[in-house]
Amino acid sequence: MKLTVDRNLCDGNGVCMGIAPEVFDIDDDLTLHIVDEIPDDPAIHAQVRQSVTSCPVLALTLEE
């Protein structure tokens, strides 16, 4: 799973962090951080896919 964020689009609204808190973190400057290694757990993979489709500005891209 390779997950990337388009920083020009991401506005740090936290939708992804609400869905997959183990994968996404947003600091107080509203900068998004993605974990280096996405845990090899089907439940977390499902959360990641859901984050990608729920991102309201379509900033996330996933290659499986």
Binding site: N13, G14, V15, P21, D28, Q50, T53, S54, P56, L58
Partner: protein
């Protein structure tokens, strides 16, 4: 999902909840037919939150806010500019008719039988009678609404925003950020107070004023008319005041779009009533998104949540509930802690939980900006939290409300 090939599932609604139901059915390997009735808008699903933020401010185009189109393994039939017009619950079928946003003809229709129905018809803007159809007067719910508003901006209109809930307050901020003169009509004491309470309401008011928005507090619009065919619009207020505007944006809330279920026998007292697992009184009919009224197991009360994250989470959950039923399992309860954000003047307001009936608040500061951070309590337990530019603090509270709630049945019940 073996044995599904001959099944038909109808998904009503072409926005986030409907889109997510279709994607989730596909992800779970459903191989039957899905009839996706996407509603009157006639456009592919898009991000509604972006309308009052990036789109109005010209930072994205309509193409840039489309939800990602997907390749599906299931057989998908998409009906655009079409609505579910009636439900025949005893025969498990819906009447699908053609309809456009302009309220066009819904002459002939087709009855579509279903094995399961997902109701994701969301909401439409509330526009008081007499306020509709006037030049320069717009509500904001759809992409078409946003484009109509945007068309007016080039003329640098004098703008009045009526209503200071989430959309009104956000629109006032976005239009002001475009450099327009903006007046904000607040029915209550403070903008967004019913959502956030007094502390953040005061903070929000101060931000509007610091950015040069004129605010009218404790004011209700009693009349709206047009001074000529091209405007300007004339607004009269309950305090006897009057103002004119080239652009009026109505932020007066929304109503659930479930009138098409009238007479179906389903519970329509506030949206579409479901059980904890998002099933309606009919075991093969589910609801998700803004339209769904369900009993939240943590808060021990019925609610509807009109926010983005909820629509996608409920859609996934409704599919899980349907599949559980197919497999003879007990469907799980939907217990996500509500979450939303709002962007105003470059600040990110975020809230988690359900603050209704809180009996205590703690106000501190959090985040780099030192803005107010509010924690809402009921009977000594945290039920909600809200902050400005403090995503970590807000999300920590989400995790806390979720985990404390999960360990105590009806933890936050009244």
């Amino acid at each position: 999902m073996a044995g599904n090939t001959s099944k038909t599932i109808v998904v009503a609604g072409g926005s986030l909840a409907g889109h997510t139901v279709v994607a989730e059915l596909d992800r779970r390997g459903f191989t039957g037919e899905v009839v996706w009735v996407r509603g009157p808008e006639g456009v592919a699903p898009y991000s509604r939150p972006a309308l009052s933020k990036e789109l109005i401010q010209g930072k994205v185009t309509p193409d840039g806010i489309r939800l990602p189109a997907q390749e599906y393994g299931l057989r998908l039939r998409i009906a655009d500019r079409a609505v579910c017009a009636r439900l025949d619950p005893d025969a498990d079928r819906v009447l699908v008719t053609r309809e456009t946003e302009a309220g066009g003809e819904s002459s002939d229709g087709e009855w579509i039988p279903f094995d399961a129905l997902f109701v994701c018809t969301g909401m439409r803007a509330r526009v008081p009678q007499g306020f509709a159809g006037l030049p320069g007067v717009h509500c904001l719910r759809t992409l078409a609404d946003a484009e109509r508003i945007k068309e007016r901006l080039a003329g640098r209109p004098r703008t009045v925003v009526v209503g200071a809930g989430l959309i009104g307050s956000e629109m006032a901020a976005s239009l002001r950020s475009c450099g327009l003169p903006v007046e904000l009509v607040v029915q209550g004491r403070l903008p967004m107070e019913p959502v956030f309470g007094a502390e953040l309401g005061r903070f929000c008011l101060d931000r509007h004023r610091a950015h040069g928005v004129t605010t009218r507090l404790l004011t209700t619009v009693t009349g709206l008319s047009a001074d000529g065919p091209d405007g300007p619009a004339v607004l009269t207020f309950d305090d006897g005041g009057e103002t004119t505007a080239d652009l009026v944006v109505l932020g007066l809330g929304a109503v659930t779009a479930c009138d098409w279920l009238d007479g179906s026998g389903l519970d329509l007292s506030d949206g579409l009533g479901c059980d904890e697992a998002l099933r309606t009184a009919r075991p093969n009919i589910f609801a998700a998104g803004d339209v769904a009224n369900w009993r939240h197991p943590l808060f021990g009360r019925r609610m509807r949540v009109e926010h983005w994250s909820n629509a996608s989470a409920q859609a996934r959950h409704a599919v899980e509930s349907w599949q559980a039923g197919q497999q003879g399992r007990e469907p799980p309860a939907f217990a996500d802690v509500p979450y939303f954000w709002s962007d105003q003047y470059g600040l990110k307001y975020q809230m988690v939980g359900h603050a209704r009936d809180h009996d205590e608040v703690h106000v501190e500061t959090a985040g780099a900006g030192g803005h107010p951070f509010v924690t809402y309590f009921r009977k000594g337990r945290v039920v909600a939290a809200a902050g400005v530019n403090a995503p970590r603090a807000v999300m920590r509270m989400k995790a806390r409300i979720q985990s404390e709630g999960m360990t105590t049945e009806g933890a936050y019940a009244t």
